[in-house]
């Protein structure tokens, strides 16, 4: 029964800064907004699309998707109401599209509306989205937690440059979800209460909810697992043994879901010697003197014991992997596994055969090029532990490593003036996690194309961080774009993945899952890696 279970206490150790996912693309903002705002459809815990505001998922079969793949038509559920009682109509969806695509609005999710030429109301409850070109995978606009429908009435004066000025709306959007924002304290705490107009009269079970922010992952874990002060905490990036002791307290448990995140080590294809100055890490610098040799790259990958890394840094939240595209299942390649097991002998042999001989200092060298690498990553205790482990492992094959960690705000920041961004990659190798939204890998795999290499020309804005360039690969990607059949797409995607791994364009390490913790008294949590973790918060309840 709605409101019968009292208060739900959620802890996000990174605090939420706004409730409008269009203004901040941050995961925490998207998740918290998903308690209030809903899209037409979203992914369930298995990565399957399920209708939310829509009555059903449009497909070519049911006619919802046009045969030429150039439009998709959604039907709203009947009698949908905003939390203020007004009806949800197709106009709200149209407005949402306009809102996110308005010039100077800085909409963080505009990628979801890419290629959309028009959104129109067929009737008050039917929305037609048209695309410029055929879209083999048309579920982007209004799908997933990143692209929810906002109320036209509330945001009508907030278009374009005015968007940030509508503080009240951004902090307390009117939605259709199970909860309503009662009070929003930016970067601190959000108080919710149950939405009286929620379409399921029995839900949510909780009368109120608070979402508290701040602190660090370990203390958040402690608050749920050990002291029981909170019901749910997100993103438990904590050393596994610590989590294990906390879980032993018996107040809570961990839940994990695996999405598409892969912790990887990028190997730079271009030379990065500091003497090259601004040419560093660009085509002009020429190929990397050591890493251009596939034997070296392969040896590096072989020398890594991914199990140990997983065990010390990830535990349940990670699995060793050789794939850069680890999920969903249909796209997951099973062909490459040569790197899963550490094989120092094979690695040493590879290097010996390739002529990299150990010098008096134990470091291998060939033609005056020493295998001495600068290995950078963002500041984060798990990453630093991994760095230390990898350094140790590589030292066993005669490779010397200098570690560097850079504040995340710099490393992942795009400041073109900073030498320390991961896009500039002024290092031999670097480590971070990347993934893609939703379940379709096409755009993600396109990120290794030759023209996506970051360079001063494109303001270092390109997804091909490793500077991989392979014509065959590019051709396959183009083919993928033309293929609409799921099975065929999967075959191509796996091929792409295998190419990347076998060429050692980068070294995949760990397939990372999202881990959250919840109190043993909380029921109904279905951990979801494809959408907001709070996607089914309406179904949560207190164990009696």
């Amino acid at each position: 029964e709605r409101g019968s279970d009292g208060e739900l206490k959620i802890l996000f150790w990174q605090a939420v800064s706004t409730m409008n996912p269009y203004l901040s693309g941050g995961t925490k903002e998207v998740y918290s907004a998903s308690m209030v705002l809903e899209p037409l459809a979203r992914y369930d815990e298995t990565g399957t699309l399920v209708p939310m505001l829509a009555a059903e998922i449009p497909t070519v079969e049911n006619g919802g998707v046009a045969a030429d793949l150039k439009s998709i038509t959604w039907k709203l559920k009947p009698d949908l109401k905003w939390s203020d009682g007004s009806p949800v109509t197709a106009d709200d969806a149209i407005f949402t599209w306009k809102y996110c695509t308005a010039p100077d609005g800085g909409c963080a999710q505009s990628a979801y509306y890419e290629g959309v030429t028009n959104v129109e109301a067929v009737d008050p409850s039917t929305i037609k989205v048209s695309f410029a070109e055929a879209k083999p995978y048309p579920y982007s606009a209004f799908v997933g937690a990143q692209s929810p429908i906002i109320q036209a009435a509330q945001f009508k004066d907030c278009l374009g440059p005015k968007a940030p000025e509508c503080t009240a709306a951004n902090f307390g959007p009117i939605g259709t979800g199970p909860f309503v924002v009662k009070e929003f304290k930016a970067n601190d705490v959000i108080t919710f209460e149950a939405n009286k107009n929620y379409r399921d009269p029995a839900k949510p079970a909780f009368a109120t909810a608070t979402l508290k922010g701040g602190g660090d992952a370990a203390s958040a874990a402690r608050a749920v697992l050990e002291t029981g002060e909170f019901d749910y905490a997100w993103n438990m990036q904590v050393e596994p043994e610590i989590l294990a002791t906390m879980v032993a307290a018996g107040k809570g448990k961990l839940v994990t879901a695996f999405g598409t995140q892969v912790e990887r080590i990028d190997v730079n294809a271009f030379a990065v010697d500091p003497s090259l100055g601004d040419k560093r890490s660009t085509k002009e610098a020429g190929p990397h003197p050591a890493l251009k040799d596939i034997a070296v790259r392969k040896a590096l990958s072989l020398a890594i014991d991914r199990d140990i890394i997983d065990e010390t840094g990830y535990g349940e939240a990670g699995q060793p992997t050789c794939n850069i595209l680890p999920a969903p299942d249909i796209y997951k390649s099973t062909d490459v596994d040569w790197c899963l097991k550490q094989d120092l002998d094979a690695a040493n042999k590879l290097l010996d055969d390739a002529g990299w001989a150990k010098g008096s200092d134990g470091i291998r060298a060939k033609d005056g090029v020493r295998l001495s690498f600068l290995y950078q990553s963002s500041t984060n205790s798990v990453r630093q532990a991994t760095q230390a482990l990898v350094k140790d492992m590589w030292s066993q094959i005669g490779v010397e490593v200098e570690l560097r960690n850079i504040a995340a705000s710099v490393f992942f920041g795009g400041d073109p003036a900073s030498p320390d961004t991961f896009q500039k990659f002024y290092a031999d190798v670097q480590m971070y996690t990347n993934n893609f939204d939703g379940t379709d890998p096409e755009k993600y795999m396109a990120g290794w194309m030759c023209d996506k290499i970051p360079s001063p020309a494109n303001g270092w804005q390109g997804e091909n961080i490793v500077r991989y360039c392979n014509e065959d690969y590019d051709k396959l990607v183009v083919e993928l774009g033309k293929t609409s059949k799921l099975e065929e797409r999967a075959v191509i995607a796996k091929k792409l993945n295998d190419m990347l791994t076998n060429d050692v364009a980068q070294i995949p390490l760990i397939h990372r899952g999202s881990v959250s913790s919840h109190s043993v008294t909380l029921e109904g949590v279905k951990m979801n890696a494809w959408d907001s973790e709070l996607w089914n918060v309406a179904d949560w309840s207190r164990k009696k």
Partner: protein, 336 residues
């Protein structure tokens, strides 16, 4: 004294302008990026649009001047309007907006102020209130057991870093004993005895850690200053008059000793407002310190700029207040 104050105030304006410029330039130069915590899945074009919406594509001076206008004209006008209800002009003017939250920075600060004042301010107050008697007794009974112990404890108090004591206390009192919550609830409204107890409980650990630190530091000052004054000629005069020892100590010596201490205390007040970054972080008190550190980590330049600038204003102001207090308390000092 009045003209001295006025002159210093006038002089403070260019000083603050220079400071604000330097801070702005520093923040602008810093390589951290407000978009860095966005998922990597957000494509570069979208990032460029977001930057543009933040005004980041504008030249440095334009942004600085705009901030100046927003901070010195718009925000005060806004406060004026809120207080008086009179609308000046169109009433529509750009406020200083945080990049991360897209909300007015001043509102954020106002929201954070209570926690910081409660926790950091209260511990400062406790620190002062405890430090004075401790310092007085320590000095009066120099080299006594009390003094030795007091000296040791206060040494420990400011030698042991708060991030060590803090973590230790949380594990002991929150995790093992479960006496106090490990997370500060900013939503708690104190309206009855029960909630008051809760409030006291959640403030206890951070306030204790900070109070220990503050007490240690200030009591050292009080002690030193008392010792300086205890051997002054006028104390002998007072005794020779037959004044009671208590009065000698508490009226003659203490009053004189407090003059330098008061200025030290005044100079320390701005640090209340900067929050105790690490302590707030450890005890999850979402106060100004936490706001500042998240803003810095998130490269939220308008927020960092405004916070640090307010901090600079407080520093300059309390420097002045310290000087003026000195002049008021010590009749020998006459500026002008």
């Amino acid at each position: 004294m009045f003209t001295f104050t006025l002159r210093r105030l006038l002089f403070a304006v260019p000083t603050l302008l220079v400071i604000s410029f330097i801070i702005f330039a520093l923040l602008d130069l810093a390589p951290s990026d407000p978009l860095s915590d966005l998922p990597l899945t957000i494509p570069p074009e979208v990032r460029a649009q977001i930057r543009e919406a933040m005004g980041l594509d504008q030249p440095f001076f334009v942004r600085y001047l705009r901030w100046l206008q927003q901070f010195f004209v718009n925000e005060p006008l806004n406060i004026f309007e809120q207080i008086t209800g009179i609308t000046v002009g169109t009433g529509e003017r750009m406020r200083v907006l945080s990049w991360a939250t897209r909300s007015p920075v001043v509102d954020l600060i106002v929201q954070r102020l209570p926690q910081t004042l409660w926790v950091v301010g209260l511990s400062y107050l406790f620190g002062v209130l405890l430090a004075i008697p401790i310092g007085v007794v320590s000095a009066y009974r120099q080299y006594s057991v009390f003094d030795q112990i007091g000296t040791f404890v206060s040494m420990v108090g400011y030698s042991v870093p708060t991030f060590f004591t803090g973590v230790l206390l949380i594990v002991i009192f929150s995790s093992w004993l479960q006496w106090f919550p490990s997370i500060y609830d900013t939503n708690l409204v104190v309206n009855d005895w029960g909630s008051f107890i809760l409030q006291v409980k959640q403030m206890f650990l951070p306030v204790m850690v900070l109070t220990l630190y503050n007490t240690s530091q200030i009591s050292r000052f009080v002690r030193a200053s008392m010792l300086d004054n205890l051997h002054q000629d006028y104390v002998r005069t007072a005794r020779a008059k037959g004044v009671k020892e208590k009065v000698v100590l508490l009226v003659h010596v203490l009053r004189n000793s407090l003059i330098p201490v008061v200025t030290v205390i005044a100079l320390g007040v701005p640090t209340i407002f900067s929050g105790a970054i690490i302590t707030e972080q450890i005890f999850r008190v979402n106060g100004l310190g936490q706001l500042l550190i998240t803003a810095i980590q998130g490269a939220d330049i308008p927020l960092v700029q405004t916070l640090t600038f307010i901090f600079a204003v407080l520093i300059v102001l309390f420097n002045l207040i310290a000087d003026v207090l000195y002049g008021i308390l010590d009749p020998r000092i006459r500026y002008d």
